[in-house]
Symmetry: C3
Subunit: 269 residues, 3 copies
């Protein structure tokens, strides 16, 4: 949450996508506002993730903020007077924001959050929907929306509950504290904490490790873990899908590489 320097020069910001090999990077790209999120950025984020999730040749997505000062401080409050000033507007804004959260959640590809600096509010919600979260020792976390008189909707709270559990999520929301990376790690909000200077390298190494595994296996693992969030019984077809991997070329390559004590090369077939 950042106060606008000038509403007259309001810049809705953008989301930038780059690709290198099997890894795509999505940047929340509004560095002069610490990547504070606007309604249009939520829409772009959702569209970018939807498009990348449909790319058969990708193996991992990295989500980050532009620059190294912030992942994102959350929604830009400077936009609220025009876009989110009452419940009617808030429903429209919420529809866009929640659609982006659903796109992140539904993405079949593994997603790594590369967290430099501030990761608060809507920024934390985006990070929570990534699969792994790498941050720096100087990163800061929180969701102090009670200071705005605002509520975190169910769809925004559920990913935090999944990571941090009931008690820590309520603690974060009721106290509204901003806390450091060590506390975020203890609360389960981040996967690992590295020196601030090493965040980009560790996020890349993580994405490369993920991309080095059999790509369908990564998608299956994410699909199965998500399915098990739902308590309804598995169908026979769902249970049976766990055996499909045994008919893949990647399985034959994996076993051959293991027995020959070499690194496997997976093609996603």
């Amino acid at each position: 949450m950042t106060a606008p320097r000038s509403t007259a020069t309001f810049d809705p910001g953008t989301v930038t996508v780059t690709r290198e090999g099997a890894i795509a990077t999505v940047a929340l790209d509004r560095p002069d506002k610490l990547n504070a999120l606007t309604r249009s950025m939520w829409r772009e984020l959702g569209a970018a993730v939807d498009a990348l999730g449909a790319a058969a040749d990708l193996r991992c997505i990295v989500v980050r903020g532009a620059g190294e000062r912030a992942f994102s401080p959350g929604n830009d409050i400077g936009e609220f007077e025009r876009e989110r000033s009452n419940s009617g507007q808030a429903r429209e804004y919420g529809a866009v924001m929640h659609a982006a959260l659903r796109s992140l959640d539904a993405c079949p590809l593994p997603i790594v959050a590369e967290i430099h600096g501030i990761c608060v509010g809507g920024g934390l919600e985006i990070a929570a929907l990534c699969d792994l979260r790498i941050c720096g020792e100087g990163s800061r976390f929180g969701a102090p929306i009670r200071n705005l008189g605002l509520v975190m909707a169910h769809a925004e709270m559920a990913p935090l509950l999944r990571l941090a559990g009931y008690a820590a999520t309520l603690e974060i929301l009721l106290e509204g504290r901003i806390f450091d990376a060590a506390e975020a790690l203890r609360k389960g909000l981040v996967t690992r904490v590295v020196a601030d200077a090493d965040v980009a390298a560790e996020a890349l190494a993580t994405a490369q490790r993920i991309a080095g595994g059999a790509p369908w296996v990564a998608r299956w693992h994410k699909k199965f873990a998500r399915r098990l969030r739902d308590a309804t019984p598995l169908t026979d077809d769902e249970i049976d899908e766990a055996f499909d991997c045994f008919d893949t070329a990647d399985f034959r390559e994996g076993c051959a590489a293991f027995l020959a004590r070499r690194v496997p090369r997976f093609d996603g077939r």
Copy 2:
């Protein structure tokens, strides 16, 4: 669990309520027995929490034991021969105890447990149903009811499962160990551990932080987090409730305070 000094002078104990501003304190008040719980104290606890939860001008409840030696060591075993000596009596005792646990669980206000010293058995169950738990370095925890040949009922176990998870809850019950505050923190049973001399101050500071936020937001956050414990799909009305805050005076105050870089003053409107 404490042995009575004399059953002839059995004192059923009491529960004391005090208020200061928007914060109420509920004390398990039987310090000569370390606040060991009797059936009548469970009934008083439930009634006190029900009454406070209905008070529109309250913003936070603190639950503690009288004195600084114990939160509570659990149910007073000296009372068992008269009140809980077979399954029939135990059902009646359980009805009172479980009603109090339900009152804690259903309370719409945030509850802070201020834990001095021993927090065991029924004491731990009360603490587990508070929203934040502040304890001292010298606090001790556990649920060694297997040593009595007694079982923790489902309704008592569920809050521990929510905090500590399946494995740690079973570990606590199967081994019956008493453990220290550091282990309680690692197991997720407490929110934070401070020096013993600082427990009251930190509990008060936590309650004041909570009371400083928009009060309806706190209630909504607790309501939403509780709702998400239930896997049934949200109704449209439930989802829509997250937008009600945008029509409150507290939201307008929160945004105005943020943009003016001042501390907001929330009225709960």
Copy 3:
């Protein structure tokens, strides 16, 4: 996962059961292969656990690998060409493996995993279905099956999700790293870490602590905790079962021992 030294001398391995008083020990017994698991060992493991779970005079089971180099590195890949080379064979192999996992999960007795050294893949899945996990500082953990092009089935993933949660389980599967005991403890995969030389003594002490409690209470606690994994409402009969303990001789012994300040002696009656 270990490469066979020679498929010509393939040894299907065995599972060994020993008893001492109320504690039984089940050993994955193939030390020359670090206790790599074969289809026949999965079948023997399931049968052993089923038989021990039906023994009324037992109070605790310890599961370990033979020797002190490994709990188990997982399924023996040397067997895959003959037993698990396509989806049809994998279904048959999976039926045996998953039946053993169900036997572990359904066992009414508390189970302690005594983990020396390597605990990976299928070994980790077995350990995850034990109730407490004691390991040494030098133990190593992971599930790098993505390197084989293989998927962890839902039934195998669910116990890891219960211990480590959604994020850590996906991290383990997507990155495929082997990690140390300290990280396993942080992830919730083990109950406690001791010096490597102390693993057997601590596992035995844990089993003895468990065996020292009222035996029906241990079974009830495990039954109730498992039941609460299921979100369906409890029936009245299920709720009422928590009061049966008040009619046992062990309850009377427990109260008498507490009031006399002596150690109780439980008979399971």
